[in-house]
């Protein structure tokens, strides 16, 4: 953990519109190597949209995204992967008819990792996929598919990793285990952004959180401090009741 290091990702005044709806409306945050940043906020506050813009799925409509000092807003996903950004998906879509191992092989062959990623066998073993390596991805259960999605991302040796609801659907023992894994990745110098609904999980792993509401950041700091902030309480309680 080295939150004092220079940020690897800087997002400033990010805007993303869908028709007339402002999914992101001036969002700003940064994350440093070795840091785990949490994005929290009620449904529809723009967390996943933020990740989608940073990972190149959507082009931003305004504002700036800088990665290692370079503007990257609007670059295609595969180019961002080559630069060192990767992500997992809320609903992972592995290559179903390929084997687990082949899934990872694609990322190894095309990810253009700058530093050598760990050996495939090691990665699969680390994320409890060793036994199913030769099976088609379609045979995996949803928790295993999430792990495969993560291994696929790690195979490109990213320096910035975006995790979209990785913990959802895992049991408590698995949660503890994956939390340790994510912390270990950060300890090795990876910058990690986590989008999550499980506050306990967020508290356990993040160094810092950004609270989003209606597409903008309304709080930045420790989660413990955030829950004492009247504006944050209002957003969460108001948000919950409104639903």
């Amino acid at each position: 953990m080295s939150p004092d290091a220079a940020p690897i990702l800087n997002v400033a005044g990010l805007v993303k519109r869908f028709g007339g709806f402002h999914a992101l409306d001036g969002l700003s945050f940064h994350v440093a190597p070795g840091e785990i940043l949490g994005l929290v906020g009620p449904n529809g506050s723009g967390k996943t949209t933020a990740i989608n813009v940073v990972s190149g799925l959507y082009a931003p409509d305004g504002g700036e995204v800088r990665f290692e000092g370079q503007p990257i807003g609007g670059l295609a996903s595969h180019r961002l992967v080559h630069r060192g950004i990767n992500r997992t998906f809320q609903v992972p879509k592995p290559f179903m008819s390929l084997t687990v191992r082949e899934n990872v092989d694609v990322a190894l062959a095309y990810g253009r990792a700058r530093t050598a990623p760990p050996p495939v066998a090691q990665l699969l073993e680390d994320y409890r996929l060793g036994e199913v390596a030769a099976r088609p991805a379609a045979d995996l259960n949803s928790a295993q598919q999430k792990m495969l999605d993560l291994v696929r991302a790690l195979a490109t040796a990213p320096r910035l990793l975006l995790l979209d609801e990785l913990a959802a659907g895992l049991n408590p023992a698995e949660l503890d285990w994956i939390a340790q894994r994510i912390k270990a990745l950060a300890a090795a110098g990876m910058a990690i952004i986590v989008v999550e609904h499980l506050m306990g999980f967020i508290e356990q792993i993040t160094d810092r959180v950004i609270v989003l509401n209606a597409g903008r950041d309304i709080f930045e700091g420790k989660l413990a401090a955030a829950v004492k902030e009247p504006q944050v309480i209002e957003v969460f309680l108001g948000g919950e009741h409104a639903r």
Binding site: S55, A76, H78, V81, M96, Y110, A155
Partner: protein, 306 residues
């Protein structure tokens, strides 16, 4: 021995050898030639459908365009036949380039847009207004280049090229990446794969193969009409043969052609509608009972199929 070499030695080489020797021992050369053409087209469908998931209902468009490319080169530029076959391949690729915007469509939209494109090319070629260039609906006659022996050998060369491409796809990370794009483009991009470029390469490769096949076909038959070389049956056969054997494998389309086209010729239907009936039923049966092709019978048992 790397798998790629093994596949070349054990599948591609013997198949080519059989078809190279066959004319000396078997009288029906036209039948042999048709076998080779369908092997090429079925593997061409395999490249685009098996590896990328685009179903080319209008695949014959490239074939017909290649045949007419050959004819125009011979008629208007007096090009030697072998060179005109290459030109036919170029025509296929150019048509493929013109149609790349179709790759933005998915599933049924792509299949039907591709069918419409092939019919548009047919109506363009057959338009009496273009008679001075294509001879319109009246057909072309290329007696000057007529040479079935050489044309058959050219077909074998095209087949070798096509099989080589498929063996490469089956054994390379390029082929794996194509399949990844087929399964999920977003995840593939997140594996670092340039999705747009990949699709385009596979699309143009299958267009090239069909264009070359069309050129060779024009050389072999030397007299044909638009309705012959743009006949939807080429698309249907190629797709059914590939599906029957099993796509995204090397062996599947080969087995499909040898069994189905073989059976067809053994029974020797004299009336095309009975043939069409049996093929229609076969297609339906395939989808309902064996959607992943013959080869899936083996893969289901855990055997690896090249």
């Amino acid at each position: 021995m790397p798998k790629l070499v093994k596949h070349l030695l054990l599948i591609v080489l013997p198949l080519l050898a059989v078809f190279a020797v066959a004319p000396a021992v078997y009288q029906n050369h036209l039948l042999l030639f048709n076998f080779v053409i369908f092997l090429i087209l079925a593997q061409g469908v395999n490249i685009i459908y098996g590896f990328t998931g685009y179903l080319p209902f209008g695949y014959v468009g490239f074939f017909g365009a290649g045949a007419y490319g050959f004819a125009i080169m011979v008629m208007h530029l007096q090009m030697p036949a072998a060179l005109a076959v290459l030109a036919a391949g170029v025509v296929g690729v150019v048509l493929g380039l013109l149609l790349t915007p179709l790759l933005r469509l998915t599933g049924a939209y792509f299949a039907i847009a591709n069918l419409a494109a092939s019919l548009a090319v047919l109506h363009l070629v057959a338009n009496p207004a273009l008679e001075s260039i294509t001879k319109g609906p009246y057909g072309v006659s290329l007696t000057g280049t007529f040479n079935p022996t050489l044309a058959y050998e050219a077909a074998l060369v095209v087949l070798a090229l096509t099989l080589g491409a498929v063996v490469y796809l089956r054994n390379s990370s390029f082929g794996l990446a194509l399949q990844a794009v087929r399964e999920d483009p977003v995840s593939a991009a997140m594996a670092g794969v340039d999705v747009v470029r990949m699709r385009m390469v596979a699309w143009l490769a299958s267009a090239l193969v069909a264009g070359l096949a069309g050129g060779v076909y024009a050389w072999y038959v030397s007299v044909f009409y638009p309705d012959n070389v743009f006949s939807g049956e080429f698309s249907i056969f190629a797709i059914v043969f590939a599906l029957f054997g099993g796509v995204a494998t090397i062996l599947g389309p080969i087995v499909g052609v040898l069994i189905l086209y073989g059976v067809y010729n053994l029974i020797g239907f004299t009336t095309p509608q009975y043939f069409q009936l049996i093929y229609g039923l076969l297609i339906m049966g395939l989808v309902l009972f064996l959607p992943a092709g013959l080869m899936s019978l083996a893969t289901r048992r855990g055997w690896h199929v090249p």
